[in-house]
């Protein structure tokens, strides 16, 4: 899938047309069927023949997807072949259709639990009640069905029986507490469709972050379901386990937009947080509640008959009254009565009693079991679901298989979930747990500990964590996380929620090295998340890391896994504190350690390698070693995709885009960000993801095109809190200052540009960009000497600074120095048009001042040709009005026409009659404008629909109206036309 690195591609040959092909192919290819990418890419002017300025060479490297461990990442990377080094290369693997994320694992990288998708089996004593089956039959005519009833009311079996006899596929999903967060929820839901044989196509995408599911993913799911010939029925059992209200909101969104393709059946103890009143009022909901679920006397007689008890009607009547027709009460009373010598007498006595029903009856039934069975039932009450060997682990015996099979045959307590898994009825489990606590105080945490131990070997990380946390055995839990190399997962999503609180709650114990490592991971992960960046967390994380390092060296028994975890976190800490040295050092030791680790363990954790390379790449970027940064980051982009590497991959891609931007290749940078955005949406990640660098790059590109509004809008979309990551922080300051300058707010620009970015090392480009902004402010206020002064220290740092310095000298009336400075620039093979064009403009101006009009024209022509390809309008505006008369001359005018100056009017046609700046005959409505703005923002139709809370069809209607009013037929044309008309 990744770069083939063919010999042909590595030669630095001009390839006419090749870049253009890329333009057309790359974004569409990455986007798959999703979105054509309007604005920015598709409608850029075609490159001039013979000037394919960007050699589109894939990366020559050992990064071609083979898992060579960190080749050349720790040491100085192999230099790139000459000529490829500076110019932007596409990252391998984005253009081609991505291999879909393996659907076998959830966003935490764990395999899906079959038991969540299995239709619960009905016991032999199940009574099919036609009146309720008939009510459920109405579910086929309403989008939403809600079965609400108390614990043990018989909800699940009723719906399972109905589903089993429906004669059409039903996707079944039983939730539990481990399905936490929207990303996890949607991953499970999509998997339930797969399990039911009605899968959604892989192109729909897949949530990669357990805590998030972006609305575009939901839109795609909804429109996929809406477009099907046959609606799909989805049952979600134990919906009350959903703690996050966002899940209910998202589910309702999909239900609303999937019509008529989705019939949703929610089985829950409490009313789901959907706007039920709306569905109720519209007659779009089938509702079955406690009153209907309750057994009638006749049904109770039948049920008890199935249990081998024949009751007289008065006894049954009294029993129904005593139990309120509660299914669990009836079932338990049957079990208890059956075991007593005189069942009818037993029931009469029970009816006369006043005890709470389930509690009393369950104790009765439990007490009649053999001691081993009682012991087993009490112990497994700490588990959600279990296999016989897990139950054996908790009892310390080997009889679980026999006992469980016997209990299941007797229809007592145990439900068979297939695939060798069982579970207790949730109601019975709770009561059994109460018994466990009172009969064996102190045993519960030990049982959780044993369960965690077993699950660590044979279960999922998430379940292991749940039990480890319930045991409150933090030392064990931390040790398990570290030794199993799960530390990377703490950085890719797991570390955002509970674990942070768990380990923070540790009191009165001296944390060991593993605990300090886990705490450091939680803190650094918190620092690094874009939504709540927190500088204090960086210091706390670094402090934990230091403690861990001391412990690992003093104890002298730092395991390879602990040392590797420490190195990984060290690389992140180094990166976040702006120290490339620390990050490199950590990466080098990580690489040495990885050589000593079993490859099986490393293969199971591809995120480790991806995170390391991303961190060291970002640290190198900060240090200004852009080529080396790219070498590391490109390896992340080229690596095979799995769920656990999506987050580092997105980060690597946006950093690669930033490298292109810094080198002066705006279109290449933009393409990378757009492709990344499309990919991020496939994985259900929101925008902005990462530290916002992608959006900053887009803003910078928009500014280069003199689209200040769009740049401003992109900046406004960033989180208020500035990022801790120095690369993101410095980029944000530089772009913000430039936008302020473009708005003429020099004072504000100065304030932003001179704000220090906390970091261990000085970053040459960050310093250079800040100085350029300050110098530009001076120039804008007529102080060229001050501008020269400011730039003096940084003039050699970066080509763009050299150009800026030259411009300042020119403004100060010293064209000679300006030309001398630019002399050395042409030798630089790295810089792209965003450097070359302003340089040519400065030289042209200098030539014009010296009276050399011919040279000025030649340089202007070159600037126009290159500037047109990248649409670098801002550079011409910044250059000043002196070029105006030149551009009015015929040969140059032709080069400027259509992008820098208006197209010449064809002779004979009345002014305003052609495609000039005319207003459309019909005004756009407010909604149409909103749709158009989003279209220009590279949003897909589904995307727009979700954003505006309307259906896809509504958006299409608006689009048609927009096309008609603008007299165009395609989205790209609409955006371009709207820009011409200044509607955007």
């Amino acid at each position: 899938m990744a770069a083939t690195g063919g010999d042909d591609d590595e030669r630095d040959e001009p390839r006419p047309g090749r870049a253009g092909e890329r333009n057309a192919v790359l974004p569409g290819g990455a986007g798959g069927r999703d979105a054509p990418l309007p604005g920015g890419v598709g409608d850029r002017p075609a490159p001039l023949p013979g000037r394919a300025g960007e050699p589109d060479a894939p990366f020559p490297s050992g990064a071609g997807g083979s898992p060579a461990p960190l080749s050349g990442a720790g040491d100085r990377p192999a230099p790139f072949p000459r000529g490829v080094g500076g110019s932007p290369a596409p990252f391998p693997g984005v253009g081609d259709r991505p291999a879909p994320l393996s659907a076998a694992v959830d966003p935490l990288g764990d395999p899906f639990l079959q038991t969540r998708f299995a239709l619960p089996s009905r016991p032999g004593t199940f009574l099919r009640r036609e009146r309720l089956v008939g009510r459920l039959g109405q579910a086929l005519s309403t989008p939403l069905t809600v079965v609400n009833g108390s614990a043990g009311a018989g909800k699940t079996l009723l719906v399972a029986d109905w589903a089993a006899h429906l004669g059409q596929p039903v996707a079944w999903l039983t939730l539990d507490a481990a399905v936490d967060g929207p990303g996890m929820f949607w991953a499970q839901l999509l998997q339930s469709l797969n399990a039911a044989g009605v899968p959604v196509p892989a192109a729909i995408g897949f949530p990669a972050d357990a805590t998030r599911a972006h609305h575009t993913l939901l839109s795609r799911i909804a429109s996929e379901l809406a477009g099907r010939d046959r609606p799909v029925t989805v049952v979600i059992d134990e919906f009350d386990e959903v703690a996050d209200p966002e899940v209910a909101r998202q589910l309702e969104f999909v239900l609303r937009h999937a019509r008529p393709g989705l019939r949703l059946v929610l089985v829950s103890r409490s009313e789901p947080l959907l706007p039920l009143h709306r569905y109720r009022a519209a007659g779009e909901m089938t509702e079955i509640r406690d009153a209907e679920l309750a057994f009638t006397t006749e049904e109770a007689v039948e049920l008890l008959d199935l249990h081998g008890l024949s009751l007289s009607v008065p006894v049954a009547e009294a029993l129904v009254e005593r139990t309120r027709g509660w299914a669990a009460g009836l079932r338990l009373s049957a079990l208890a009565a059956r075991a007593s010598p005189d069942p009818e007498l037993y029931l009469k006595e029970f009816e006369a009693g006043r005890s709470t029903i389930a509690d009393f009856l369950l104790a009765e039934v439990l007490d009649r079991q053999p001691p081993e069975t009682q012991d087993l039932l009490l112990r497994i009450s700490v588990l959600d679901r279990f296999r016989p060997d897990l139950a054996d682990e908790l009892t310390g015996r080997r009889d679980a298989a026999t006992i469980l099979a016997g209990l299941h045959r007797a229809n007592a307590f145990v439900e068979d979930y297939g695939h060798g898994w069982y579970r207790l009825h949730p109601l019975f489990r709770e009561i059994l747990r109460a018994h466990l606590r009172s009969r064996a105080p102190g045993l519960e945490p030990r049982l959780h500990h044993r369960a965690a131990h077993w699950l660590r070997r044979s279960g999922t990380l998430r379940e292991m964590l749940v039990h480890g946390a319930a045991a409150r055995d933090w030392t064990y839990l931390a040790g398990a996380l570290v030794e199993d190399l799960a530390i990377g997962q703490l950085l890719t999503g797991l570390g955002s929620g509970e674990p942070v609180d768990w380990f923070a709650a540790m009191e009165g114990e001296t944390p060991d090295a593993a605990t300090n490592l886990v705490r450091a991971a939680c803190e650094l992960s918190r620092t690094h998340r874009s939504d709540r960046s927190d500088r204090a967390a960086l210091e706390r994380g670094t402090a934990h890391l230091r403690l861990a390092a001391e412990q690992l060296s003093v104890e002298g028994r730092g395991t390879p896994a602990a040392l590797l975890s420490h190195a990984l976190l060290g690389a992140l800490a180094g990166r976040l504190s702006g120290s490339a040295h620390l990050a490199e050092q950590a990466t080098r030791s990580a690489r040495r350690l990885m050589e000593r680790m079993p490859s099986r363990l490393l293969d199971a954790h591809p995120e480790l390698r991806a995170l390391l390379l991303t961190h060291v790449g970002a640290a190198r970027l900060w240090a200004g070693r852009l080529d080396e940064a790219r070498a590391a980051l490109a390896q992340v982009a080229a690596a095979p995709r799995t769920a656990s590497v999506v987050l580092p991959r997105m980060e690597a891609l946006e950093h690669l885009a930033l490298v292109d931007h810094l080198n002066g290749w705006p279109s290449a940078a933009e393409r990378k960000v757009l492709a990344m955005t499309v990919e991020a949406e496939r994985y259900g990640l929101g925008r902005p993801q990462g530290s916002g660098i992608g959006q900053l790059v887009l803003a910078a590109v928009a500014l280069g095109r003199d689209d200040v509004d769009r740049a401003e809008a992109l900046l406004a979309g960033l989180p208020e809190q500035p990022p801790v990551d120095p690369v993101a922080a410095a980029t944000r300051q530089a772009v913000t200052a430039d936008v302020l300058l473009a708005r003429g707010r020099t004072g504000a620009a100065l304030t932003v540009a001179t704000r220090p970015v906390p970091a261990a090392d000085v970053s040459p480009w960050a310093r250079g960009r800040a100085a350029l902004a300050v110098a530009d402010a001076h120039l804008a206020e007529g102080r060229p000497d001050a501008a020269v002064d400011v730039l003096r220290q940084v003039a050699g740092d970066q080509p763009l600074c050299t150009v800026g310095t030259a411009r300042a000298h020119l403004a100060a009336g010293d064209p000679g120095t300006a030309l001398d400075l630019l002399e050395g620039l042409t030798a630089d093979g790295r810089s792209g048009p965003a450097v070359a064009v302003p340089a040519a403009l400065v030289r042209a101006r200098a030539a014009a001042l010296k009276g050399d009009a011919a040279t000025a024209r030649r340089l202007l022509a070159r600037a126009l040709a290159e500037g047109r390809r990248e649409d670098l309008r801002r550079a011409f505006r910044d250059a000043g009005p002196w070029a105006g008369p030149f551009l009015a001359e015929p040969p140059l005018r032709a080069l400027a026409a259509g992008w820098l100056v208006p197209e010449p009017q064809p002779p004979g046609e009345p002014a305003g009659g052609g495609h000039g700046a005319v207003t459309p005959t019909e005004e756009l409505t407010g909604r149409e404008r909103e749709v158009l703005e989003r279209l220009a923002g590279a949003m897909s139709t589904e995307d727009i629909a979700a954003d505006l809370y309307v259906s896809v069809n509504t958006v299409k209607t608006h689009l048609k109206a927009v096309y008609r009013k603008l007299s165009v037929h395609r989205r790209n044309d609409a955006v371009r036309r709207a820009r011409e008309l200044r509607l955007l």
Binding site: S150, A151, G152, R269, S270, R324, W326, A328, R354, S355, T356, I357, A358, D359, F360, A363, P426, L427, E430, I431, A434, H435, R437, S438, R439
Partner: protein, 68 residues
Amino acid sequence: MQHEQCEIRVDGLMSETLIGSFPELEHVVVSGQTLLYGPLLDEAHLYGLLARLQSLGLHVVELRRLPE
């Protein structure tokens, strides 16, 4: 901070085992019903109590919040 009191009336006589699931509350038996009462920390506590009652299959007859 001022705590509220809560009083939860549950249908039926709860066993000692089940009452053990509400260690933060006192209890008293009144005319065939069990009255659980005690300080209420906050809203989360209240909903947690209700969920616990529900998961144990208990039938809540009455719920009152009283200023302390």
